[in-house]
Subunit: 145 residues, 2 copies
Amino acid sequence: MMFSKACEYGIRAAVYVTLQSLEGRRVSVGEIGEEIDAPVAFTAKILQQLTRNNIIHSVKGLHGGFEIERVDMDNVKLNMIVKAIDGDKIYTGCGLGLKECNAQKPCPLHDKFLDIRTDLRNMLESTSLFELANGLEVGLTYLKR
Amino acid sequence: MMFSKACEYGIRAAVYVTLQSLEGRRVSVGEIGEEIDAPVAFTAKILQQLTRNNIIHSVKGLHGGFEIERVDMDNVKLNMIVKAIDGDKIYTGCGLGLKECNAQKPCPLHDKFLDIRTDLRNMLESTSLFELANGLEVGLTYLKR
DNA sequence: ATAAATTAGGATAAAATTGTCCTTTATTGG
DNA sequence: CCAATAAAGGACAATTTTATCCTAATTTAT
């Protein structure tokens, strides 16, 4: 409702990779798709985007898979994933769909939207993969169903 | 980015109808499409949904068109339009796309999303068509471009 | 009554998003 | 070197959303 399906899968996949990397395990697309309940081939495309954007790291071949460095778990914030997949329309786009909507020429909802979007932006910019994987690890949150 | 295109057009159309009804003018789909810069036939479908939901009122035939009662300009809040067009997934849907995501079985982003969504909801529930049409009337805001 | 204007509604078409399948490339172990 | 495994990537298919077109129904004025 806020992100595209691709972006939803992307965040869930990245969080799962983080969780497993914390345990020192590299994971395959197949396992990821299974564990986040997402179509495997489609998830593969999204993982490609994430690796191209240096958000996670991929290794080909036997014993290959996806992983993420410990530092990156802290450094990668959700806004980076959203930007890599959905672009920055979530920040720049007008709530009512005007092509150019800004303080000089605002749509009727401009100011009210700005408030909410700023909150959203702050949330995305301050939430790391590590933080999200932690909740999962202790069984407080879920990535499926 | 938050609403569907249909919903964006719907809100813009409803605000335009409100603005014109304030002047006592009934407006045609053609004029609406023109003035909010939206595809006419598509806008017509959306206006149908709004009339079926008693949000605006339509009159067929010569000198017909769309209008809205003075009381309804205050009573109709944005959430009613969003609900009529996009349903209530904006309120109930999970930010990460889980089928069931709630306090008992939350996704990793559940709480953070809840805050933002509550703000959004409050905003939509408290913003009336009259309020939005007013900004337009005094030239502070725009529905095109 | 008739013609003109206008919404309602059905049938399609186009575009975008989501999803699948198959081949290629890289890596590892034997 | 060879076989097995896994990601990368291209081509295509299905679905959903957006958009168009045409006809029917309704109302008004003459």
